[in-house]
Subunit: 477 residues, 3 copies
């Protein structure tokens, strides 16, 4: 078996001057707490604090970054144990799954998934061998042994990871029972929900009526009008706030914003209730609802987040057989300047409003997003999202936005992950990349070291707390 080593200067430039500066900047923030304002960890993990399952179920089966790469090279999802919606058999032997993964781990060389996994293996589970065909079972056993011990229970890891806040993502219809259970426990970890009402705005979806019914049930009354819908949303946001939420999240295909008249909105809502809303209707409705969400944020102070540009479930067969979030969401070109015109004009200068914008279309960073964020007080640029939460992608993000927007119109890092044990790896990688970016500026005498020290701390800790108003928001009691 080959030894696994993580070089202490990994991800820093080879040039000795830059590397030295990068290392010193990184060391200033390496041990700062992790603030997670946006992610997809299941709150039930921390509510029940049950032991994690064995390695394949923990690491491979829930992580579409991993299995979509194996799929792209010809492996079947069934052979990796991904459950089928129709219940037909898939591989159930976790050791077989793990071996298949290990046999193909070389595919991740040079990818962020590879970097995260090696960090997780090394630092979370104490693995000291490179994962490959030979070491597969040895490492499987080592991780499995860890998982059986109390030090690897979710809350213990949360504390060991030094997580100050962990934000989950929750449907508008979520009961937040797990969050309540965490708050009612004697454990003091801060786990807060985020309000994500997307499904209620997709009025052309076949699932919409069902979503609305669920929303009516949790709201305590049927919702028969647009007015009632708005009121129920406002109340639901208040409930989320009472449970600690500081933010909302909105995924749309394009970030089109447009205010309808009350009559227009009502008419669309009635079409939706009648089951006759078209995709064009939905586009308008979503555009209006983004305006409404912004208005509510101005009123209730919840930070609004928009994640546009993902064409979901591109592979329909995978979607039918395995469901969503299987690595087949593909980005599309995105436009912000015109699409956000109405929202920016209506709310972009409101002192009590913060809107964090994410993109999967890097061509918008320098062209649209940095200029918008460099002007409107309410706008903040979210970190390099998803396919770009990588060394190169994060570096491009800084190089494309800083000169126009500065760093202080950006929102700090978020890991956006559902893979709980990978959280430290992701924040560590980001801190290294930001330190390396700033080190280059110092080495080229664009900024000096005192600037860089303040900036690395801002990027690693201060900006995320400021953006998401985590200081203003008392820990719910």
């Amino acid at each position: 078996m080959e030894p696994l080593e993580l070089h202490p200067d990994r991800f820093f430039d080879a040039d000795p001057t830059r590397r030295r500066i990068a290392r010193s900047l990184y060391e200033e923030v390496r041990d700062l707490p992790i603030v997670g304002p946006h992610g997809h960890v299941d709150p039930g993990l921390l509510a029940t604090n049950a032991p994690f399952p064995e390695p394949a179920s923990l690491i491979i089966i829930p992580d579409h970054y991993i299995f979509r790469m194996l799929y792209s090279r010809g492996m079947r999802l069934e052979d990796l144990g991904i459950p089928r919606l129709d219940g037909r058999p898939v591989e159930t032997n976790p050791r077989t799954i793990w071996q298949r993964f290990a046999d193909h781990f070389y595919l991740f060389a040079g990818t962020p998934t590879g970097a995260w996994l090696n960090h997780e293996f090394y630092h979370v589970f104490g693995v000291r061998h490179r994962l490959d065909s030979d070491s597969a079972m040895y490492i499987y056993d080592q991780i499995a042994e860890c998982l059986a011990s109390p030090e690897f229970l979710p809350r213990a890891l949360f504390d060991r990871f030094n997580i100050e806040v962990l934000t989950t993502t929750d449907a508008a219809t979520a009961s937040l029972e797990e969050h309540r259970s965490i708050r009612d426990s004697d454990w003091d970890g801060r786990v807060i929900p985020c309000f994500r009402p997307d499904a209620l705005f997709r009025i052309a979806s076949p699932d919409w009526q069902q979503e609305l019914d669920a929303f009516g049930r949790i709201s305590g009354h049927a919702i028969g009008s647009f007015d009632a819908f708005i009121t129920a949303l406002e109340r639901r946001r208040a409930f989320f706030r009472s449970m600690g939420a500081v933010s909302t999240d909105h995924a749309v295909l394009e970030p089109y914003t447009h205010a309808l008249t009350q009559e227009e909105a009502e008419a669309l809502f009635q079409k939706a209730l009648a089951g006759t809303a078209t995709p064009a209707d939905q586009r308008l409705f979503e555009a209006h609802m983004l305006m409404e969400m912004a208005r509510m944020s101005v009123e209730d102070g919840m930070v609004m987040q928009i994640h546009p540009g993902s064409f979901r479930n591109h592979n329909q067969q995978i979607y039918r057989d395995f469901g969503p979030d299987k690595g087949a969401d593909i980005p599309i070109r995105t436009e912000f300047t015109r699409n956000l015109y109405e929202l920016c004009n209506a709310y972009g200068s409101e002192p009590n409003f913060t809107l964090v914008l994410f993109t999967l279309d890097e061509s918008t960073y320098a062209r649209e997003l940095a200029p918008l964020a460099g002007h409107y007080p309410a706008l903040r640029l979210g970190p390099a999202w998803w396919f770009f939460d990588s060394i190169e992608g994060m570096t491009r993000y800084r190089r494309l936005t800083t000169e126009t927007a500065g760093i202080y119109n950006t929102a700090g890092f978020n890991d956006d992950t559902r893979a709980f044990p990978s959280i430290p790896a992701r924040h560590d990688l980001c801190r290294r990349v930001d330190a390396n970016y700033l080190a280059d500026l110092v080495a080229r005498h664009v900024i000096d070291l005192s600037d860089a020290r303040r900036m690395i701390r801002a990027l690693s800790y201060d900006l995320v707390r400021e953006t998401y108003r985590l200081d203003r928001q008392a820990q719910p009691t």
Copy 2:
């Protein structure tokens, strides 16, 4: 107070080999005269040669790069002394404004504005302390004292800056009286106008009739037909040429070019006169006028410039309260290959024609602009414009265009600035960035040092003179 130091190797890569080469290339061009073929300095400055006002009025209030960044972080423009159109009160104490600016100067760390200002403070005003809350008044006093001395009169600075040519930007309706006054003076600085008739082409604008009336007055007769309009434009261009102009400039939302028939053009013009022209009419009219401007350039030899892709005055409240050019112009995606098809086919191979293309959409550099400029003899790529006149942006511009178009189909640098005292800083930064770009090619043995020497001189001086035909154009007498 902290010392302000400008490292002699600033903006060069940290790698010692590249840095050494970059420094040697930079030293070859550091002291070459500044040629400014495109900018927005007020010619009245140099016509009256009156002393500059105090520091806040000189440096902050006219510079939207500065105040839009402060605005983006929540400061009110009123508190920075930006005058309101309605005359309502704004901050009038320049020391208060300067202090607010200094308190937030850290926001500019890593931005070109920060780099320019530090250069300007250091080299123009002899400041030796970093601007921050503590040093604010000390530096204010130091700059104010400079401005009161004759060495800091505009013409004295122009001479000290070693400016060979300075080009202003002037409406078609401009009288050019200030230019005449400069020519009639005993001062020999070369300050030339540039013909920018945009306002006359925006036939759907509520201001169009007023612009046309002004154009009629300055042309000496009312303009009631498209024919008369064309003739008046031709005559006006001749007047500009007689005042030293070598170029025209055209800002459009999209660079669409399309020749109308005489009848179609006349019909649009009559609709405009009747006040019924629509935005779609304007789009066609502008497309036709770009064709006409190209035709006239073929005939009179004026270099044509197109600046597309800026969505002006995105923040309508700022526009209503403070007017245009307040940092709220946001780029949009731009298309050149199809839009310039007609113009390129009609005039792109004309020996007497030069068209300089600018973009705010970097994705067009490698995809469309470099291939177009690498084919059509008339086309030249303008420097990285506006949000990209920065270390990273300029570097990307060279890396994205050189391998297809070479450097000899680019137009050299222009500073595009209205901030007169920042001119040397901008040219110096560009020369450093170009030297560093070429040094990398030398260090990687893509070119050798003799190539690089010729190229750095071309980028810093020769190409701008060639592109704008400044050698052919005698200083007006």
Copy 3:
């Protein structure tokens, strides 16, 4: 005359750590055979094995990379000896043409053409002086002398270049007589055709009927229905396969894919036969034919290639006077996520299907292409095409795609060239650039040296053989 030197470490980063690693990686693959899966060399060259003509006819006149750059700086194509379609006189003295080229060779500094030419001069022809005005005739004579010797016959160069496979590009109507002649000869070089039926799918083109007639003749019967058309295409593919072909190639303006019903397809075909097909009809027809080509590839195993996004013959005067492929093909923005939706859903997960995607729109690499190739098993990303087959372009390609798709969903290199003597230069440059890219990952401890060794071999040799199934395909006998 100045000496021409090719630095052994050219194209590697200046940083000594990276350079050392890059050199060691490059040395592992420098001498591997050249595998050319896609190019435009005239098979007649190798069929007749006639001596190459003199230097200008070999190097300048057929290479639009060269003469379009000279044209862009104001030279006439006639003065470079490019033949006019109307037979009107052009420069015929090759020494005059060569001298003009040499006088302007400085224009290519920093371009891939410059790098390729210097490599070709040095390594193929033994030139040891820099090409410039002074050395022009000396170098002309040196190359001319080479060309007269048997060591410089095409087959001798093919063997000396260590070419394992050379693929040509051949119309569906090509007889492949030259390929047969090569196979029937006693020379064992592997030269295989590629099936490119584009012209048959452009049903709105004035040339379509003529193309169809030629296709009918070579198919042995007139083609009067869509059914007959499909059958003839299937048979023609079988013939190409019997002549060694392993791939098909498809150039489209946009990569739109959409399956028509049998009736719709037949109706379009009948409109085409009637000469009334519109551009909109052609768009649909091409979209359907891409689906048909994919279906046939699933059945016959030929690797499918799509090259979208080139606006051909942008300069219509050059096209009328000199024909196509004169350096006036300009890229346009390209969309893949939606356009390939139908094809990916129908065939993207087929085990027997490989689709290689090329792009001229770099903004699609990270946004669309890497995510698509990182999911669908059938998809492979082709190398940086055309304007991007350059140091910077290839480096950006790797930096933009590897973190999402890994390297194992890419297709290795192809030179796409018609300039036979430049083939080693292009592969050498690519191997250097890939080695340098990987060296940076090693130096930053993203991957280790053992990963990098496997990866450089994959990029230089293994992946192209795997992608194009060159191992499965026996040398035709």
